[in-house]
Assembly symmetry: C2
Homo-oligomer: 327 residues x 2
């Protein structure tokens, strides 16, 4: 393995915002810009904006385009990694078979790579974050949805096409709530930030009293996972019940992962993980109830080490590995 010694452009595209950065060979962020994805506008407009953001960020970095080793995109959807195509994206409408890699190569005349965002984050956490020097770990991001990345024998596992790790879309409750993917009862539909907001709204609509009504000036639709977390910290009964319920669901999925992978560590990122021990402690308890003793006692369930930068840094590492000739 001889990683590229050049800086790269790393991009992390989610349903709400995207980040573009130039990252040095030793993983320092030289320049960085956040933008709203405005994903409802569809891929064409998003990509057009992305292209000019890339120009802007390269310019800001002081690095000449000719000195860059490549561009890597961590994308919140299913990626055909060999072809560099986004095949579908439950949380970004209309991204069906978008040849993102070739569009970047055409525009910037340098190597480009597209990888699932949670897989990129797993790589970032493994090389620079909470999972350094471990052999087997699972990364999950819990926010709007639930994504996953898998490190096996010290290497990122992408699966046959590049779609491995869609852990959020495993059925945990047959005929459960509708999921962003169109199916029912996926883990994501029970334990994501979206699920937390939905459960709180259901409680409010069924007439439960809660501080949430004050916090949103009575507009139930404005309740978000963060609002529920804030309410729980203030001691609100509805909010606490919802967080505990989500933690229980989170733990069931963690238990499934423990039984499947017997990993050394599960690293949790995303907005919901930012709630910290309030949700992680009951989730660990639920995990232990749903997994076999030995693997449950082995695994450490921890918060992300690189904050919100795991995906971005992981994308940079991926670009450097790939540009250096290592798949």
């Amino acid at each position: 393995m001889k990683p590229s010694a050049k800086p790269v452009v790393a991009i992390d595209i989610g349903g709400t915002k995207y980040i573009v950065a130039v990252i040095s060979a030793d993983h320092q962020i030289l320049s960085r810009v956040y933008r709203h994805t405005l994903s409802r506008e569809g891929p064409e407009k998003v990509i057009a904006r992305l292209m000019s953001t890339i120009d802007e960020v390269i310019d800001k970095s002081g690095i000449k385009p000719s000195q860059l080793g490549g561009i890597a995109v961590a994308y919140a959807g299913l990626v055909d990694i060999d072809k560099g195509i986004v095949t579908e994206a439950p949380n970004l409408p209309h991204w069906n078979n978008v040849p993102l890699r070739d569009m970047l190569v055409d525009r910037f005349k340098m190597p480009a790579f597209v990888i699932n965002d949670a897989s990129a984050a797993a790589l970032g956490e493994h090389r620079l974050g909470a999972g350094k020097e471990l052999n087997n770990l699972i990364f999950i991001t819990v926010s709007t949805g639930i994504g996953g990345g898998i490190i096996i024998n010290g290497e990122l596992y992408n699966g046959t096409d590049g779609c491995a790790g869609e852990i959020g879309h495993t059925v945990v409750q047959l005929d459960g709530p509708e999921c962003s993917c169109g199916r029912r009862g996926c883990w994501e539909s029970l334990a994501s930030g979206t699920a937390i907001a939905r459960m709180a709204k259901e409680g409010l609509r069924s007439g439960e009293k809660s501080i949430l009504l004050d916090m949103t000036y009575g507009v139930i639709d404005d309740v978000r996972a963060e609002t529920v977390a804030a309410g729980a910290r203030k001691g609100d009964a509805l909010c606490k019940r919802v967080i505990n319920q989500a933690a229980c669901y989170l733990g069931i999925g963690l238990g499934n992962l423990v039984n499947i992978f017997n990993p050394q560590m599960i690293i949790i990122g995303g907005g919901v993980s930012a709630m910290g021990e309030m949700i992680l402690r009951p989730a660990r308890r639920s995990m232990k109830e749903h997994a076999f003793k030995l693997p449950a006692s082995t695994v450490r369930v921890v918060r992300v080490g690189l904050g919100t930068d795991s995906g971005l840094l992981g994308a940079a590492i991926y670009a450097q590995l790939m540009a250096g000739g290592k798949r």
Copy 2:
């Protein structure tokens, strides 16, 4: 990797029967004996019988004990692979922390290894069976329970302790039927042979008419998965409904595996797979409904290539790899 060039003793221990064989360096079965496990008698008596069966099989093989490279056990339970201990076994009562490897080493004075049976079968199918030359595959055995084995990047993935692949014990239906592991709604509780028998018995007890009553002389408790399969082949409505329901559940779990692993192949062994296309065709259909398009179109779901010998041959390969110094 330099596998041992010596023949080995390979053992496959399940809840119903165990098999002991001497297997040559080029994977020919030189001698073989089947015995009832009689698992209700507990580990001590089972192991005592196993020891004398090993003597018998070595004797039959014509190989001198001094020429053997070691002994490998494929065991239907959770194994701490480094310590050679069976930690727990949902389908074999009282096997809690049994130091099987050391007992074999003490008795036979040669290297011994203990590995999960479905992991062994995955290795067998990968090296000699349906999955030859593939990089990423999942093996599942569907019979009394559901076990799993994982091949990643051409190597068996055992997890941190040796417990990886307990795919049968992932929650698919929250608060679903009771499972052998003591929890509820595991995949095994919905799609195993035991689940098929249970669903048929429930139908009979609720008064559904069925050929099953004739086939079991009215003793509902005698209904087994094979009886249901035979009834379905004769066109019995209850049996056909139960097989289709189990196929649907089977497909949901397969869909989960496809979304997690994006594998090239899923190989299905065990008694239920012997029902063939009657259950596999509707299971594949259900799998496609529950998985993302790209990985669902990539994966091939096939029957086991080595029949009931996958675990035994996999154990032999494992012993040869380990005795040859390769973990």
